[in-house]
């Protein structure tokens, strides 16, 4: 680390979302002319730190210094003006506008109140040149460019704002290896021009190639900062692991193979380039976990199984029979018996203003209606049973579900599917953002459902949960199953290293080269 005055310094930054502490008195120093990599697990606080730095959200506590002066950013354009610019992981370009329009989108050069086309084009050309993409025509429409070129436009757009600090948040996750090489050349040149770069990536080998400094975040705090190359991958992973508390999980019974075909089997499942060659079997009485970093195709896999995605390749077998699942209506039919507890309970799982009764009924009309006419008594009986079984804390089934706590809302999402008596239950991170007590209840419930004969596929971003709950874990990376872990193999170390696509410390790419 250089002893010179840092360009940017954060001190004691904290941010809470409700009861969840996203960032806990974190600090960070960024120096000009260096590439600083930020590492950490899902939810370690990296994204929150970036959002604070570029003014998307305001910190609850702490201060940020830029060039020795304290700064506060009330919105992203204030941060941009001060010289802090971020390239977010989702592309933020407007496809139907030209490259020049996109680069200058927030403040086009004007003359007499009208956009000065010539100046706009000149600035765009300059910025593209600096981004190493002088071959892109400023008049071209963004939608006509391939993904890697768009990423270049994204960088040019950031450079046109004359940043002192450029933040790249998973900016290479959409790029192929050859595109990444080009982007890296540009980044290295920007470093030599004296820019400070903050680089966030889950790809260990990229960081090894690019970074000068590395900082590891865990549980909302910066745990360690060290010069790149001074620690092995294994040591870095050790730093990223390690939690203060452990959950109490129900025992895992030993499941004897019963010779029956698997409840759910996939063979070579694929969807565009987001899911590749997925094959696995899920048996009754078994809980399989889906691991890996966020956005490696786990969500798409669950949606594909549930019939939401179209143009799926490969085969799905239920109890040994080949089936076609082309809609949620088909997925929940008695023959297939699937249920999906979706990712976002507020927009996908629940109708928030509607009552607990209506929400619990939505997936299971057939259980208490004949020819579309609801049998009120039967409905109430089933709902009361379910509220008791899952211990949903509500004064009355007629209360709107929005009046319930987050944990109880999540119980409603799970209960509404149990009403339909599914045999195969898919869960997309069901314990995200809910309290510890409810989490434990959900773990016990899942194990009980499995013991009663259900087959469960659980995607979780919480490694403890995968270790504690699952009989087997499939770790996904870049749309494919990277590794299958079973029984005692499921350790935090194995989960993290396969999630990062390294073999317990050895970079997979390096050994392949």
């Amino acid at each position: 680390m250089s002893a010179a005055e840092p360009l940017f310094r954060a001190e004691g930054l904290s941010k809470r979302y409700g009861g969840v502490i996203a960032l806990d008195r974190a600090d960070l120093e960024v120096h000009p002319g260096r590439i600083h990599a930020i590492l950490g697990e899902n939810g370690a606080g990296k994204s929150t730190l970036i959002k604070l730095m570029v003014g998307v959200v305001a910190p609850d506590e702490g201060r940020m210094m830029l060039g020795g002066r304290e700064v506060t950013f009330s919105n992203p354009s204030a941060a941009n003006d001060a010289g802090v610019v971020c390239i977010f992981q989702e592309l933020s370009l407007i496809p139907d506008l030209s490259v020049a329009d996109n680069i200058m989108i927030s403040r086009p050069p004007t003359r007499l109140g009208l956009i000065d086309r010539q100046a706009q084009r000149r600035i765009a050309e300059e910025a593209l040149e600096r981004a190493g993409a002088g071959d892109i025509h400023p008049r071209a429409l963004v939608k006509d460019l391939p993904l890697s070129r768009r990423q270049m436009v994204e960088i040019a757009k950031a450079l046109s704002r004359r940043p002192k600090i450029l933040i790249l948040d998973e900016a290479t996750s959409a790029l192929t290896a050859s595109d990444v090489t080009k982007v890296f050349e540009v980044l290295k040149r920007l470093r030599s021009e004296g820019l400070a770069l903050l680089y966030i990536s889950h790809r260990m080998h990229e960081i090894a190639e690019l970074a000068d400094d590395c900082s590891v975040f865990r549980n909302g705090r910066r745990i360690s900062t060290f010069a790149a190359g001074t620690k092995t991958d294994a040591e870095v992973i050790e730093l990223m692991i390690g939690r203060e508390y452990k959950h109490a999980f129900p025992d895992k019974p030993v499941r004897e193979p019963d010779g029956r075909p698997p409840a759910l089997q996939c063979r070579k499942l694929g969807w565009g380039d987001r899911l590749r060659d997925i094959s696995f079997s899920l048996h009754a009485r078994e809980i399989i976990g889906l691991g890996g970093l966020d956005g490696q195709g786990q969500r798409e896999l669950l949606l594909a199984l549930f019939g939401v995605l179209s143009d799926i390749s490969g085969d799905i077998f239920i109890d040994g029979d080949k089936v076609v699942i082309d809609s949620p209506v088909a997925a929940k039919s008695d023959r297939i018996g699937l249920a999906l507890i979706p990712e976002d309970r507020k927009t996908e799982g629940l109708m928030l203003p509607m009552s607990v009764r209506d929400n619990l009924s939505a997936a299971a009309f057939d259980r208490f209606a004949q020819f579309g006419i609801i049998d009120r008594q039967q409905q109430s009986a089933l709902i009361d049973d379910m509220i008791r079984l899952i211990e949903i804390k509500t004064a009355s089934p007629d209360l709107p579900v929005s009046a319930l706590s987050g944990g109880n809302q999540q119980k409603v999402v799970i209960a509404k599917w149990l009403m339909n008596k599914p045999r195969i239950i898919l869960l997309n991170d069901p314990t995200r953002g809910i309290d510890v007590g409810t989490k434990q209840e959900i773990y016990r419930l899942l194990r009980r459902l499995a013991d009663e004969g259900a087959a469960i596929l659980l995607y979780s971003t919480d490694y403890d949960e995968l270790i504690g709950c699952c009989d087997r874990v499939l770790v996904m990376y870049d749309g494919a199953i990277r590794r299958e872990l079973a029984g005692a193999e499921i350790t935090e170390r194995a989960l993290v290293s396969s999630a990062l696509n390294v073999d317990d410390g050895e970079p997979a790419e390096a050994s392949a080269q």
């Binding site: 949620p328 929940k332 979706p342 799982g349 629940l350 109708m351 939505a362 007629d398």
Partner: protein
């Protein structure tokens, strides 16, 4: 558990109170206010004859607004009302001109024509993903074109069948027009449909959060299509009743029903973006709109002034209601 059983009657009371939407209460309040203002202008305003007459006029709007409500609950809109009403009326009258068989088939024929246009709207919205505002406007234009082509642009000569006239103007119950009874039956069916059938609950679910409804395995596209078909059928049925009332169909007889049907539904507390609303509110909204129109004519305000006040009052009320718990 014992606690829960003991407090159940109290809970039921709370639930009842909760169910009475402030917008519905406000609509009924406005109705009383209008009656009061009206009675200041004319003694006869509060007479049973006049009120029953108003109820009869309201029942045409009530039937049309029922269909509109289903669509608005989904978070969609049906702008094809004007010419679906007219088409229903004209086709029923056209059928009535073909002897006895025609007279018997007149009413179903009119309703089926409306249902067909509605089905087209529904397929466009649910399966082809065309915004409802566009497709219903387009089918409205197509229906208009077909009707103008059919009549040559003149008032059609066919007159309504006896059954149509009886349905709109007859009296099964002395003093009470049959049109009111028809509205009562359709209203009762709508209440049952919305609260007791999976179709009705699915409409609310889709209106609240279509994605969540879809992921719950509700066939959202079929429900949407059927709701539009029902809306078309009810609009056409309104047209059939109107033709029976006036003895014949007329060009653009449905124009006066688009804005009032939307306004009645929304004034009655149905959220314009879907998912919330009760039929009781729609009843209140329909009566409120009818009384407002009536009072403006009783006050002998010129046509231009009437239109101005009518529009301004609707905008004002929608502003007040529309801002509630958005």
């Amino acid at each position: 558990m014992s606690e829960a059983t003991a407090s159940q009657p109290a809970q039921r009371g709370v639930a009842m109170l909760r169910r009475i939407d402030p917008a519905v209460a406000a609509s009924f309040g406005c109705i009383l206010l209008l009656l009061l203002v009206g009675s200041l202008y004319s003694r006869s305003f509060l007479s049973p004859d006049y009120l029953l007459q108003q109820l009869k006029v309201a029942s045409f709007l009530g039937v049309i607004a029922t269909g509109m409500m289903l669509v608005i609950l989904l978070g969609q809109i049906d702008l094809s009302v004007p010419w679906v009403v007219t088409a229903g009326a004209m086709m029923a009258c056209a059928a009535a001109a073909h002897g006895t068989t025609g007279a018997i088939l007149a009413i179903p024929c009119g309703i089926l024509c409306g249902a067909a246009i509605g089905l087209l709207n529904g397929i466009g919205v649910a399966y082809l993903r065309i915004p409802s505002m566009i497709i219903t406007l387009a089918t409205n234009a197509v229906a208009q074109g077909l009707m103008v082509a059919y009549t040559g642009g003149f008032a059609p000569q066919d007159s309504a069948s006896k059954a149509m006239r009886y349905l709109a103007t007859g009296n099964v119950v002395p003093g009470l027009s049959n049109a009111v009874l028809v509205w009562a039956i359709i209203g009762g069916a709508a209440i049952w449909l919305l609260s007791r059938t999976t179709f009705g609950r699915a409409i609310y679910a889709i209106g609240n959060r279509e994605r969540a409804a879809y992921l719950s395995g509700i066939d959202t596209r079929r429900v949407t299509m059927l709701a539009f078909a029902l809306s078309g059928a009810l609009s056409a049925f309104g047209g059939v009743l109107l033709a029976g009332y006036a003895s014949k169909a007329a060009q653009s007889m449905g124009d006066a029903y688009l804005l009032p049907s939307i306004a009645a539904v929304v004034l009655g507390g149905t959220h314009i973006l879907g998912g919330r609303g009760s039929y009781l509110g729609t009843i209140a909204g329909v009566i409120l709109i009818t009384l407002l129109q009536s009072i403006l004519s009783v006050m002998q305000i010129s046509e231009a002034g009437r239109q101005l006040i009518y529009g301004a009052v609707i905008i004002l009320m929608l502003l007040i209601y529309g801002r509630q718990k958005a």
